[in-house]
Every structure is written in structure tokens, then in C-alpha cells.
């Protein structure tokens, strides 16, 4: 069992295993620590933090869809100051790797957040969210504009030596073009994918079920799309990919690694099974044993087309 090397490398970042908890789906780690042993998790990506606190969108923020869910949380978060003061100390205690996800409405804000957090030893890497579909400014406007994504990568890169991961929007025709720009501007990795834009209406009131009108679609429904995006990047751009989208169990995780992911994140499944991370890691180990794989990193992009 213990012979299998589960560690993976993303730029200069080494993770004990490829499983990360996705941004926005585990808050700042404290609640979920009631259910799961965070010290066994490869990395925790914190809820997107912005310079100032954000109240987030009014309710209703969530609706279930077939094999998926829509959310429009609107980047509700405590803001950078509070994050540093109260959230980092808890996360420091947990023997996991902390990746800080940053959201912003301007390039300057991304840079300022990164700069401020760069000094925090507990933060081991940055995931830059250029793809939140649920806020008016920033978010998608950046995420779907290749020039902005390039600029954000370049400017953030300039203020930190820690690994910079750019979280890409799937709501574009050619996601690999965006991955290429990230690579060219010095980004260390890309995360793919954030949620797809979707909506759902009440047919009696004729109003959107989600107050924000549209929300981001996550969960098993989007897995085939996410896999295709990861594969597209993998075939076209030489950059580490963190696969995300609809992973419910270890089989899904293996599928993401095969199509090109170096590591992967689980999101929605945490809401349903808050111990899913540990179960997936165990499943990966058994799979590697069964398949005679001694280093899990061999799986990455091992597709036979």
C-alpha cells in the first residue's frame, strides 16, 4: 500500500497527493474538518478572497439541476484582512498544503491581494480566479478575454515567486488558447474548469430560481465537458493542468488524470459526502496497486488515442 508514490508536482509545488479541495466548496476548512482528516488532503484551495469583504448575492443562491447544481454565491467572503487575521491561523494548524484563491474586479486588485499574501508563509501557491460567472465585474469579463488573462498572469507573476495557477473559464470556444497565454506569461499551471453558465426558471412565477438570474453549473453533469477541456489543453499546451468538474469518486479522478490532469480538485461532492476526499485517495491507491502503477504521476496524460 505505502509503496505507491502519490505525490505530484505543479511547478515548484510538491503535493503529497493529487487531491485538492476546490475553492468555494470547503470555505476555509474549519467546518469540513469535522468530517475529514485535512492533513491527508493534497491541498486545500480556499474560498476566493477579495481585497474587501463581499456580502455576496441575495438568496436564492442555489438550485439543483439534473446531476448538477447551479450556484450564484457571488464571491461572498471575509475580505483579505479578516482572511489573514482569522482564517490563516486555523489553516496553519492543519498539516495540508494551502493554496489561496484570489478573485478581483481589476488587475490592480489581483496584484495587491497576491502581494499582500505573498508574505504569508502558510500560503504555498495562488490560484487566480479569472472565471467566476456570478459577479458583475471582473470574473467572466476577464475570463473570456484572452488579453486580460495574459495581463493578469504577467502582473501577478511579477509580484510572487510562489506558484501561480490560473483558473480558467470553460465558457469559451478554445480553452487551450487561454492555457497557452498563461504559459507564455509565466503561469505555472491552469485549473480547468470553473462552472458553466446556466439558469433555471420557475414555470409558475416565470422568475429565475436563482436571484442572480444565472448561476454556475457544477457536479457530475459537467464532467464530460470538463474532461474534454482538460484533454484539449493537454493535447495542445505543455503546462500542468489541475482537472476540476463533477468528480464524485476515485474513478472520475483517474479519468481526469488520464486525460491530462497532474492534480485534480473536488467541489460539489464535498457538500454531499464531506469525507469524499479521503475515500478518493484510498481509491486511487487501490487502483494504482491493481494496475501496477508505482508513481501516480505516470497516469497524467497517459491516454491512448
Amino acid at each position: 500500500m505505502s509503496n505507491i508514490d502519490l505525490s505530484v508536482k505543479i511547478g515548484s509545488l510538491i503535493l503529497k497527493n493529487p487531491l485538492m479541495l476546490a475553492s468555494g466548496t470547503v470555505g476555509y476548512g474549519n467546518e469540513i474538518s469535522n468530517f475529514t482528516d485535512l492533513s491527508k488532503i493534497g491541498a486545500i484551495v480556499t474560498k476566493s478572497v477579495s481585497l474587501k469583504p463581499r456580502k455576496g448575492n441575495p438568496p436564492q443562491r442555489i438550485v439543483e439541476t439534473p446531476s448538477g447544481m447551479l450556484n450564484a454565491i457571488g464571491l461572498a467572503n471575509v475580505g483579505l484582512e479578516e482572511f489573514i487575521k482569522t482564517k490563516i491561523p486555523f489553516l496553519k494548524e492543519v498539516d495540508s498544503t494551502l493554496i489561496c484563491n484570489i478573485a478581483a474586479s481589476s488587475i490592480e486588485e489581483y496584484v495587491e491581494c497576491t502581494k499582500t499574501l505573498d508574505g504569508e508563509e502558510t500560503v504555498k501557491a495562488f490560484e487566480i480566479n479569472v472565471s467566476c460567472p456570478n459577479v458583475k465585474e471582473g470574473g467572466l469579463i476577464f475570463g473570456n478575454d484572452i488579453i486580460s488573462v495574459g495581463k493578469i498572469t504577467e502582473k501577478v507573476r511579477a509580484v510572487t515567486n510562489k506558484p501561480v495557477i490560473i483558473k480558467l473559464s470553460p465558457n469559451v470556444s478554445a480553452i487551450s488558447d487561454f492555457a497557452k497565454v498563461v504559459k507564455d506569461e509565466g503561469g505555472d499551471a491552469v485549473s480547468a474548469i470553473n462552472t458553466l453558465i446556466g439558469t433555471s426558471f420557475d414555470i409558475y412565477k416565470r422568475t429565475p430560481k436563482i436571484k442572480n438570474i444565472t448561476g454556475g453549473l457544477s457536479g457530475p453533469a459537467i464532467k464530460p465537458v470538463a474532461l474534454a477541456k482538460v484533454l484539449e489543453i493537454s493535447r495542445k499546451v505543455d503546462i500542468p493542468i489541475i482537472g476540476i468538474g463533477g468528480i464524485m469518486n476515485w474513478k472520475d479522478a483517474v479519468e481526469f488524470m488520464i486525460v491530462g490532469a497532474t492534480a485534480f480538485q473536488i467541489g460539489t461532492v464535498n457538500f454531499i459526502n464531506p469525507n469524499a476526499g479521503i475515500e478518493i485517495i484510498d481509491g486511487l491507491k487501490s487502483y494504482c496497486e491493481q494496475m501496477n502503477i508505482s508513481k501516480i504521476s505516470e497516469l497524467t496524460a497517459s491516454y491512448q488515442l
Partner: protein, 251 residues
Amino acid sequence: MFTSKVPVESVEKIQENIFILKAFSPQIASAIKPGQFCNLKVSETDFPLLRRPFSISDVDGDYISFMFNKHGEGTRILSEKRNGDVIDILAPLGNGFTYEDDYDTAVMIGGGLGAAPFPFLTRRLKNKKIVTLIGGRNEKDVTDWGLKNVFYSTDDGSIGFKGNVVELLISKFNDFKDSEIKIFSCGPTPMLKALQKFTVDNNIKCEISTECSMACGFGICQGCPIDSAEKDKYYLVCKDGPVFDAEAIVL
């Protein structure tokens, strides 16, 4: 908070469309308090995707009960469970009622299935008088399962007082003049809103159990905000509630 695989003891239909699901769980039974809730995985597959939140309706020894209406996919599946089926339950969630403080009479007010948390509260209340007011559209909407000293109101007058349950409360208000009361309430938002106004205006202790769409049920998704009385701040129904002081929230 923990997840637990719980065997179903029975599902009973106690009304046209009201079901009681009883399950065996010493662990939940000993941990949960009136007004708290559980988040149920209704199937063993990934469909439906999300858990379904339900108040704990009663705890009897090692058995826990849920009361629900069948209206969507999840409640349909629950209504078809049989003895021995296993349900994955996340519990205990949220903050329950504060029922041990200083007052004489507990007035429980439920709109329709808003009655769900009260059998358990009734069971746990010691040394308080209890009055229970249950409102519904008609006779088939209401139940006195596990309740004490029940008065009904129905929109069509098919049983009890004709009108809504807040009107019923007001009509009975004289009865409570001499004792200090505390109201525990649960039901549809319009009812809670009317009740909130009445209790705040009249300076009556009142706790409201709220509902909203949820994904996780324990504070990690931020999916369940409710406006707080404080400016520019949401509470989370699952973590800060579902029971709130009437004065603390904006409905």
C-alpha cells in the same frame, strides 16, 4: 456533526400526503436537539445529487422520525423506503430552539408541515404549559401527530378556526394574558412574516425556524443566506439557524 448510515424502521402515511419515516439511530437520537435538522441522502446513487434537509420530528429512545410531504423526487423516494433500507444522514445540524429559558407557556405555531419539529419539542419540554396551533389550507393539510393541546385553523374552515394560523393566535391571545409565553414557529414565509410582525410589535418572545435551498447544510457552500437585522450581513440558515430569534432576521 457526523454522517451515519441509518436503517429505516418504517414509513407510515398518517394523512393524505403526510408521511412519517422512522429510523434507528442511537447516535443521532442522543446527539440531536429539538429544532435541529438532518441532511438526508435519499438514494444510494448520485441522483438526485444533493442531500435533502429535514427537521428532526421526534426522538423516541433510539429511534428518530422525520415528517414530510411527498412533493418532489427526493420525498417520493423517501416515501417508498422500506424496513431495512439504509439512509445516509448528516447530523445534527444547525441550532435548535432555546426552550429551557424563563416562560410559562410554550405556544407552538406551525403552518402545514411546519408542524414537523414540534413533536420532539413537545416531548422535551418540562414544566411548561403547551398550546399548539396548526394551520393549513384544509383538513388534509394538518396533523396532530405527536402534539399536545392542538388547535387548528384552515383556510376553508374544514376543520377548526376558519382563517390563518396567525389570526387564530390573535383570536386566542386573551387566553395567554396571565402567563408569560414563548412562541416557537415554523412554516411558510408569509405566515412567519405576519407572525414576526405581530410578536415584535407586541414584544413577545418568538423563535422562528426557517427554510431555504441548501447544498451542504453545514456551512461550507454559502448557499443559504438570510437577511439579518444587522445592516449588510447575511446569516447562514444552516449554521446560524435554522432557528432564529424573530428580531434577528429580515424575512
